[in-house]
């Protein structure tokens, strides 16, 4: 059962505006515009980045939004709070590469033998963002966050394709790190600061922490009817 006092139970839990966001019917039947407005109200609440600088955070927010843009399917990375999620993650053991083997020597090898750089996620973001913004300035005379979306997409495409090197970091490595963490931020439980209002889960029809499907193992292909619940007991 959800903890009776979610705030006590999960100190990370954001306090968020209840009301409109709190009902299943709102999400299921409510129009797209209403969704966006409600989510936007949420996103408008400012989070102050702690690990990243304000400029780095602007880059991150803009880049994540291109990876997962707001569209007819549902909210994008910005409304879902993905940048906040990533900044928070970089302050956890994960950000320090706690479960990565980080002993040298570090030797370059074929891609299929996996990651071989001496950098943990915090380094990848700090170095990668600085270099990507420098590249953006050099190519377009502006920081990434200030570019039109098609120019942003062109830069991300170049990074993904591996044609750009960001200082010591291959563009592809940085892109994959960014993509991976963006998707985590969109679909992880909201206690981690992303997936605001469980908008990521609602978009794909995932019921979150329900974890009890005794009666829905086989309903001949009908959609599961109950909206999501989060670990802290938030429902939608």
């Amino acid at each position: 059962m959800p903890s009776p006092d979610p705030d006590l139970h999960n100190p990370l839990r954001r306090s968020f505006v209840k009301g409109l966001l709190g009902t299943t019917s709102f999400w299921m039947l409510g129009g797209h515009a209403l969704w966006s407005q409600a989510l936007a109200a949420e996103a408008a609440r400012t989070y102050s980045p702690t690990f990243l600088t304000a400029d780095e955070y602007r880059f991150l927010d803009a880049a994540c939004e291109r990876i997962l843009p707001d569209d007819h399917n549902g909210p994008g990375a910005h409304k879902l709070g993905v940048a906040e999620f990533i900044d928070r993650q970089l302050q956890t053991p994960y950000g320090h590469g706690d479960n990565w083997y980080m002993s040298g020597p570090f030797v370059e090898g074929p891609a299929n033998l996996g990651y071989q750089l001496p950098f943990v996620p915090r380094d990848l973001y700090r170095k990668g963002i600085t270099a990507a913004d420098a590249y953006s300035k050099q190519q377009h005379g502006k920081l990434f966050a200030d570019l039109p979306t098609d120019a942003q997409d062109a830069i991300l495409t170049a990074l993904e394709g591996g044609s750009v090197k960001l200082g010591e970091i291959p563009g592809r490595v940085f892109f994959e790190q960014l993509r991976t963490n963006t998707l985590e931020g969109a679909f992880a439980d909201p206690i981690y600061g992303g997936n605001r209002g469980m908008g990521g889960w609602l978009m794909v029809g995932f019921p979150g922490a329900r974890a009890d499907f005794m009666d829905w193992v086989n309903q001949d292909g009908a959609a599961y009817p109950i909206g999501p619940v989060s670990i802290s007991g938030e429902t939608a």
Binding site: S3, W100, G109, G114, Q116, G205, A211
Partner: protein, 590 residues
Amino acid sequence: MKHADAIVIGAGWAGSILAKELTEAGLSVIMLERGPERSTAIEGAYPDSVDELRGAIRKRLFQNLSQSTLTIRNTIDQTALPYRQLAAFLPGEGVGGAGLHWSGCHFRVSPDDLRLRSAVIEKYGEKFIPEGMNLQDYGVSYAELEPFFDKAEKVFGTSGVAYTINGKVTGNGNVFAADRSSDFPLPPMQDTFSAQTFRNACSEAGYHPYAMPAANASRPYTNTYGCQMGPCNFCGYCSGYDCYLYSKASPNVNILPALRQDPNFTLIANAHVLRVDLDSTKTKATGVTYLETLTKKEVSLSADLVILSAFQFHNVHLMLLSKIGTPYDPVSNTGTIGRNFVYQTISSSRVWLPPSKYTNQFIGAGGAGVAIDDFNCTNFDHGPLGFIGGSPVWVNQAGMKPIAAAGGAGGGGAPRWGSAYKTDLVETYKHSLGIDAHGSNMAYRDVYLDLDPTWKDAYGQPLLRMTFTWKDNDIRMNQYVVSKIAPIAKAMGATKTHLVHLNQGQPFDTRHYQTTHLGGGAVMGEDPKTSALNRYLQSWDVSNVFVIGSNAFPQGMGYNPTGAVAALAYWAAHHIRTTYLKSPGPLVKL
């Protein structure tokens, strides 16, 4: 120095079974586990355990690579590089081992898999075996192991449906399965919608679908040791998670509660075994030395009997570090420790159903599903095909959660980000299902394990080095079996099908999860020149060391390994109890 009659290294299935059997035989047993204690009541409890980020993504229950990992290369002429981030395979760590967070697909074996070399030669002649393939028999038969498969299922609380029991057809189980001496302890798991759709299509196509045997409890169950399981509710947080409902069999739920009550049993967690200590003749183990990982204190224990049950490649690593037996040399083709390292050929294809059908992929249980064995083992004619091995094919909807789904969506020409990607992700998550070809992998002369010359673990010991890639025989086997999925998908009413198979020239890629079903490296057999262990999993070289795990498999089989590991563990324990303890020494005299 503290003494125990037996020391067991590793608290997974293999170690827990041996510890239980040896304490039952009256021995004092110390079990050493390098990871922490784990309890369902604490970290396994709802709702904190049903958290994809902390679970399968940040991998809270898996091996901590920062302390120890291995290096990997594809071919002998390459420099192996460290496996720095968990991806291709996910070894467990902590009490319960990978048995705490496995899925629960609980198979026996196909009898021919235990004697594959003999079976192939009988049917097609010795020339059928490709140059460089080390095809071998286990040296033990299904008939000999049957009582131990039976015993293990009653401990695991396995759900399933038999085909024959004592030669009589009793149900709609797997027509290719070997005969059983008794039924499964629990009825089969219910088919999910996806599994049922697959079942119907397979029947239509003329194949023989069956409910996969699952160590997920379909009903409440009390096992042989008095340990209790609750019924599985298909929560979907199964593979990679500890089960909050006590429904998935694990050493923690099914064996350790009984074992912990035995005053002869001591479990020491956070104890990383550095080596097995040998006497000056190198033919007798005197005990083990371990590091208390919290205090960094080195401790030596003495013992009469040492059980290596640290998982397949950790067992091989410990043998090499302890200098038990002769390391394998692929050039001179001598030595056995590290020889016949094998994996499995896994490929997951995807089928999209019409938009009116929701596959609800988040609903599922790790071991539940529907499979066909028509293309597994020796169940089909390999003569015209010219390869050895096979794959079961199945829909094993184990609970797909959105971070994993999103990470895997796109690619292969389709966008991996942006609006089109999002559209594709939503549709794929809601309306598609996965079909796996879960296949065998043969052993080759130049695929093996040894010690790395460069990289070390946090304790200053050389890392294990893996030399592995996909070979022609297994690639063609995989392609053949995957081609059989197309007509099944069509019969399922697929609107789109994405078949995935291995490709010639495509090396093993360490960046993507395939399976943790690693095998071989210290295999069992009847010839000490080609096996590290005799048919009782006893080291040929150091007779008071038994090595229990999938390291004993001479080749990788189509089925998941743990059923065979558990049966081999009970088989070895039986012979230790009935023969070895009465007169310690080699159980097989040459």
